[in-house]
């Protein structure tokens, strides 16, 4: 194999508009690697996206060029959804599965035998990138090409990470690409990873975030005071319920800025109790321009999530020059904040209330935190920093593959 191997990204679904951290990361990384001169192809299923039925073929099977990238799509077969859902709940609740249950879970997740056959057939033709860790595309696909595989796990501290499937798969990867040191530590604490496996904390590439107009955002949505911004999916997994609880504490029990608002943007919805209506606004999905303007007008950006392996939206907030307030129980978010010196992290509702007030009281320091965050993103996660790291990794993998040939 030559020094510039063909690259194949393997993931359960693929498309420009597909939401989700790993999916968006894959799309952007593929685009930038292709721009850097690599031949990059995608091996995926015909499923539309995460929210679709995983036994339905939305896309036509076959190989087609989509936005300059050759995409190979393979059909999915039937699955027992009821059985999967039951076992999935057990895994989420960290209830151990029997070996038979593990097998049932694995076989009723996404059933794409043709995709796996194609990976095996092309085992000597590509350097394979698998992303993220928890799907059958990875735990069935990666063991077919262990020596020429790179895993971008996007690992969280969640039930899936502790299943035997993952314990079996993770050590097989030729290389692991982590977003943060915290993610690397988590992987090393769970899995028995061999010394021969390349371990790299590479980060994630971030697109430049164009500056917005905060005043235009306030005018458009009738906001006349300071606001905290939450941007992202409004779901239980993102810990939005806890943010609402803490925000309730701020409004009813001790927050000093009674005109302060909490504004949500992004998909999904959030229940706003009557007493919180004057201080809470859910704008739902907004345009890219409104999103930029929302960041520009915010006093603070809040990230309550515990399940982050990187948090792209934190980088957006910092690129907009905003201080952030993050959940102190997320090692990844705390690592970012400590390295960037770009905000604060809370561990209780009392700290949340006190830190919101602190950030609004201390205008200069808050602004400096935003500046620090911006510098942190520019120094570490812009594509001009990320692509050379991928190039070094690919060269290292190519060398190994050459030695094996």
């Amino acid at each position: 194999m030559n020094q510039r191997p063909k690259l194949a990204f393997v993931l359960p679904w693929y498309g420009q508009e597909i939401p989700g951290g790993a999916e968006a990361e894959a799309h952007r990384t593929i685009k930038h690697l292709a721009a850097a001169g690599y031949t990059v192809e995608v091996f995926t299923t015909c499923i539309k996206d995460f929210f679709a039925d995983w036994h339905k073929n939305h896309h036509r099977p076959g190989s087609r060029t989509e936005n300059g990238i050759l995409v190979h799509r393979y059909p999915v077969g039937p699955r027992n959804k009821a059985k999967f859902d039951l076992l999935n709940q057990k895994i989420i609740g960290r209830i151990p599965l029997t070996p038979q249950e593990t097998a049932d879970f694995a076989d009723n997740f996404i059933n794409a035998p043709d995709l796996l056959a194609a990976i095996y057939k092309n085992r000597n033709n590509y350097l394979f990138f698998f992303i993220p860790y928890l799907f059958p595309t990875t735990y069935y696909g990666l063991p077919l090409v262990p020596q020429n595989s790179v895993l971008i796990p996007c690992l969280h501290n969640e039930g899936y990470a502790f299943t035997p499937l993952m314990r079996r798969t993770m050590p097989l990867a030729g290389a692991m690409v982590y977003h943060t040191e915290s993610e690397r530590r988590l992987a090393q604490s769970i899995y028995d990873l061999p010394d021969t496996q390349i371990q790299t904390v590479l980060g994630e590439g971030v697109d430049a975030f164009e500056p917005g107009d905060g005043q235009a955002f306030k005018q458009k949505f009738g906001i006349d005071g300071p606001y905290i911004l939450y941007a992202g999916r409004k779901s239980h997994e993102k810990n939005v319920w806890q943010l609402m609880t803490y925000w309730n504490e701020y409004i009813l029990n001790g927050g000093r800025y009674d005109r302060l608002k909490l504004i949500f943007i992004g998909p999904g919805s959030v229940e706003i109790p009557p007493l919180m209506k004057d201080n809470t606004l859910d704008l739902g999905y907004v345009s890219a321009l409104d999103k930029r303007n929302a960041f520009a007008g915010a006093s603070v950006f809040v990230q309550p999530s515990l399940n982050e392996s990187f948090s792209l939206v934190l980088m957006d907030a910092w690129q907009a020059g905003k201080p952030v307030l993050v959940n102190g129980f997320s090692d990844v978010l705390v690592e970012h904040v400590q390295r960037a010196q770009g905000g604060l992290y809370y561990g209780s509702h009392e700290e949340f209330v006190a830190m919101v007030d602190w950030l609004l009281d201390h205008v200069e320091e808050a602004a400096q935190m935003g500046q620090n965050g911006r510098k942190y993103v520019q120094d570490n996660y812009m594509w001009e920093q990320i692509i050379p790291k991928y190039e070094a990794l690919i060269a290292q993998m190519a060398e190994r593959m050459g030695a094996m040939a």
């Binding site: 109790p273 006093s299 604060l344 602004a367």
Partner: protein
């Protein structure tokens, strides 16, 4: 949960509550910026919270949060235990039922208040016991640290 490891205080520049949203843009242009030490600021905020809690409870004792003999996690957990919530607060999710939704909300609120009245009596009692335990652990840790120091000096 990460723990700050220094004792300095973050610099401050206050504005009055309810001022119009602070515009950060102008400050971002400043060349000479104040150095930020996030860990110190968080440490300071935590101290203020603890001081306030002790003031409210009429106590003057302070917990041993600055030691170095035990692991960082020990002092972290001691802090977290000391700031845990001492009562359950009222939270009512809005009903989506048309017309009678507000009535359902009011009924839910009343029922929740009655339940919380009784539940909180147990919660407050348990919280008192928890607080005593935290203080005891803190005192024991201080004694252990003293003994360790004495042993070290004796060894020299």
């Amino acid at each position: 949960m990460a723990r700050p490891n220094t004792n300095n205080t973050g610099a401050s520049h206050s504005v009055k509550p309810n001022d119009i949203a602070p515009t950060l843009t102008n400050h971002m242009q400043e060349e000479q910026a104040t150095p930020i030490a996030v860990e110190n600021i968080i440490e300071d905020i935590r101290r203020q919270i603890l001081t306030q809690k002790f003031k409210e409870s009429g106590k003057t004792s302070q917990l041993n949060l600055d030691g170095s003999y035990f692991s960082t996690k020990f002092y972290d957990n001691l802090y977290q235990a000391s700031v845990s919530q001492q009562e359950i607060r009222l939270q009512v999710i809005k009903s989506n039922v048309p017309l009678i939704g507000p009535l359902i909300d009011r009924l839910r609120t009343m029922i929740h208040q009655v339940i919380l009245f009784y539940v909180n009596q147990f919660v407050v009692e348990q919280a008192r016991i928890n607080q005593l335990n935290v203080e005891l652990i803190s005192e024991i840790s201080v004694e252990i640290e003293k003994l360790a120091q004495q042993q070290e000096q004796g060894g020299d």
